[in-house]
Symmetry: C2
Subunit: 175 residues, 2 copies
């Protein structure tokens, strides 16, 4: 005798993401997720293999959102960098978790497509991949360090971001 579904995979992932954003990965317990979607913990295993698989799905959901945000930018390297930083500030725990986990390659590739495109426009087909990696590595490192509080020493963090971006533009214009 079938029972009407009391939850869904999407609801579970969303609940997990909310918990992640509120308190980091440690707060994403199966019990807390189950509470949030109105079901008992064992029921989650009907839709998700285990906790690790759930965290993976959450990471992919975050990458997809990031991809949407980047695609909605003006497509210049500056625009992309600022959109990336805004995303990191809006979803700090999600952003940090992205690089703590090993997100699925296909999702990552889709999200970074606009960056590759902007790099292509800036330095040409030949150097596009290297240039995209240069800018992405810098921005990712900068935001990781900013969120980790590694810039607490002083100096203007916004200024340091703009400085870095300007320097990279200079470098890319020379190739």
């Amino acid at each position: 005798m079938p029972t009407p579904d009391r939850t869904s995979l999407a609801a579970i992932v969303t609940a997990g993401r909310e918990l992640l954003e509120r308190g980091g990965p440690a707060k994403v317990s199966m019990q807390a997720v189950a509470d949030r979607v109105g079901v008992r913990a064992p029921s989650l295993y009907k839709r998700v293999r285990d906790r690790e698989a759930l965290l993976q799905l959450i990471a992919e959901d975050i990458v997809d959102d990031l991809g949407t945000v980047l695609a909605a930018s003006d497509g210049t390297l500056t625009g992309l960098a600022h959109a990336y930083r805004t995303f990191a500030h809006t979803h700090p725990e999600g952003f940090r978790y992205l690089y703590a986990s090993s997100p699925d390659l296909a999702h990552l590739q889709r999200a970074s497509e606009p960056v590759l495109q902007a790099a292509r426009a800036a330095v040409g087909e030949e150097r596009a991949l290297d240039a995209a990696r240069l800018v992405t590595a810098w921005a990712t490192g900068f935001l990781s360090m900013e969120l980790a509080g590694a810039f607490r020493l002083g100096g203007d963090v916004d200024g340091a971001f703009e400085y870095g971006l300007a320097q990279l533009q200079v470098a890319l214009r020379q190739s």
Copy 2:
């Protein structure tokens, strides 16, 4: 009646670091650490407030090692970048954990001193902090992404590192 000490804080931190390096933070359980130093889990609480404090100590131990490695390099930005990368390859889990946690500021500052010095030599006192942050952010982001497998797509990863380093040198030479 005093009992002879059966372990030490240093031994506990070392054991924890070995476990971290072997299997990531999840493998650093109080029981596993206790087993490794030849004591029962509750005894650890004589030397360490709780698991989180132990992980913090492990992170600081890693930063100290990194500082030593960087200080032993030739002191140029290129030398520092390569030393940093070698460290990340030798201690991948430790490196990843460093940026997942929020390492103590004093330790971080000591470790990054040589980078600031190299930046000072390259661009002068005025721009040293911004330049150090540019290079550090790039290298940290690059290594995080490399270790996370974000470069699995293809292309020459070593080549991308050298390309990035060269571009940054060009940019810094212009300021």
